[in-house]
Assembly symmetry: C2
């Protein structure tokens, strides 16, 4: 590793440790102030080092999306992991079995069919696994659609020998609006609904201890809902253009950038950077761009292909006068997708590269 | 590896070897029929096995996009590699140095500044490296903008001790239209312009042996242009929804799919597959979707997040009656981006998994 980030081979993802620490401390403080536990979704950074810091700051566990990510995090020493995803299929159950000896592993269930299959497997191996019943908090993905459905599912799970109901989880999609009042409403609605689902299950005489909710844009709203026990927000570690576009934070809070080199300047208004989709990720949610130049937020990736990030100067923009070989830092649209493209993140303090953090959850699609 | 693809853990990328072989043979035949050499862009598959087959079928070399991909391919035994990208930066030159002892390595140059820096380094190490002068063939990325600029650059490179002009390369973007006549015009225009650039360089008394052009949608047009020496098309190995949407091939020619499991069915019209952006790639160019169901092309991923591929049934669609745990195959929008998300491809012949091909070029962003 070079001593200064300015000397690194590019493209390479950098994490500003000061910004990271501020982001981590702020969310930990928010959760603590409301007496809500924190179980950060580690899909954002996929590293042992940042997950450890999140636990040091008070998180009682971590969240992952895949069995493969759970395998990586158990190997890294974490012992309380929620796989916030409906786990289906014998091969995944087989992989969970050895993890159960080393950690508390919970996963999401949203159908009797999936619960029955998991129960049959785990009961056959003499195990009882904790399931969180997933309620669709508004994202329109997986999850039961009502409290009634949740109670029916909870009763079914409760009768199954290999599973036990540990609570409720949900997820809302606050990315569909940049209106602060609407985001607040989305967050509160998710939290209130998840608590109501848990209450309905308890009223039916079944346990539902955990009420696990939230995301970065809804965090400050959902923690105010009485009955919420656990906040899963993850992107906050780095923030990104999506969060900026939602008004959650300013660009000065974005801790993850991709260092890129100016490799071509074929026309006065066109610069080509060596960070395209393969370095920044393919998503383009927030600002209608794959990335914004950290030092010049008026300049953005105006189009990207796999290896080319094109910056076309707006007609009224001051010419950055970049030379071939100059390096610039790009704030990606979606931090999680960006991290997944890389094998390691470089931790940077000022000009200095201070550490290398392997992306141990990278590409663990299964 | 399971014996049958139906039994694999998901999501997992599958390559239909019959379709692959047909795709490879067809493009090799097209190039041969027109007396044009073939240097397939291996970014699509990033595997040793498919690159070998392309060479067996007559390719005189291979193309990569990055020094890291060149490192992987040299290690895999390939000895004639074009890095079709402007290579800038001392750290990249340092990595190229050991490769020059083992293979013929060419790379693109489109500026005097980049040429001078490369020349200084390589001349200092007693080497002369072959450069292809890049001409912007219409893609609007890197590359000089005219034959005059190319001649000026060629003269500058010719005077530099560490580089020699080996020819011209260009790339056109045929993805902006699905009109066959327009695609043909884009391909012919690219080829004619590249040949004209090479002719202008030769008229100036300098060498320009290689005229390296083309892409999958323009291949059959650009090979008809006299003077073209080399076809770099790459996606043809697998094809994908982009090629289908352009009318290049039908869905029955797509050799790459991602096997996915139905993990949730929360509403009558909504199925959730475990293949989202992390398995299919973030791009969404072609059909306005991240993927289409191979067996049911009327069904597509209607929205995708990192781990969720949502299939919402159109109102008039026949219900596929998928059960939780069923597996389906998804044809991705962009084969190259999809492959880059995975560590290995599984080769499938009928129902049988016949081989595992490591994606040796995966994630080599530098």
């Amino acid at each position: 590793v070079a001593d200064r980030w300015q000397d690194l081979d590019t493209p390479v993802p950098l994490v500003d440790v000061s910004r990271l620490e501020r982001n981590l401390a702020e969310m930990a403080g928010l959760a603590a102030a409301h007496g809500v536990g924190q179980r950060p979704h580690t899909k954002t950074h996929k590293t042992r080092e940042i997950a450890r810091r999140q636990v040091e700051l008070g998180a009682h566990g971590i969240t992952v999306a895949k069995v493969g990510e759970a395998e990586a995090m158990v190997a890294a020493g974490f012992d309380d992991i929620l796989i916030a995803y409906p786990i289906v299929g014998r091969r995944k159950y087989e992989r969970l079995l050895p993890l159960l000896d080393r950690a508390r592993i919970r996963f999401a269930v949203d159908s009797v069919a999936a619960a029955a299959a998991a129960s049959e497997f785990f009961a056959g191996h003499g195990r009882v696994v904790e399931a969180l019943l997933e309620h669709d908090g508004g994202a329109g993905r997986s999850g039961v659609q009502s409290a009634d459905e949740a109670v029916t599912l909870a009763r079914a799970v409760d009768r199954l020998p290999g599973l036990t109901v540990a609570g409720v989880m949900s997820y809302a999609n606050a990315y569909k609006t940049d209106d602060a009042a609407e985001q607040a409403e989305i967050g509160r609605t998710e939290g209130v609904a998840a608590v109501a689902v848990a209450d309905a299950i308890r009223t039916a005489g079944l346990p539902a201890d955990a009420v696990s909710v939230g995301s970065t844009p809804t965090a400050r709203h959902v923690v105010t809902v009485p009955g919420v026990t656990e906040l899963r927000a993850g992107v906050y570690a780095f923030h990104d253009l999506k969060q900026v576009s939602l008004g959650v934070v300013g660009l000065d809070r974005c801790a993850l950038t991709v260092l890129a080199t100016v490799v071509s300047h074929p026309r006065p208004e066109r610069f080509v950077l060596d960070a395209g989709i393969k370095a920044l990720a393919g998503e383009d949610y927030g600002w209608g761009t794959h990335g914004v130049v950290l030092e010049r937020p008026d300049l953005r990736i105006t189009s990207a292909t796999e290896e080319h990030g094109i910056v076309t100067l707006p007609p009224d923009a001051e010419d950055p006068r970049w030379s071939i070989g100059d390096v610039v830092r790009i704030v990606p649209d979606h931090a999680c997708g960006c991290v997944n493209m890389h094998d390691a993140l470089l931790a940077v303090d000022g000009d200095d590269v201070v550490d290398t953090w392997p992306v141990i959850g990278r590409g663990r699609v299964r």
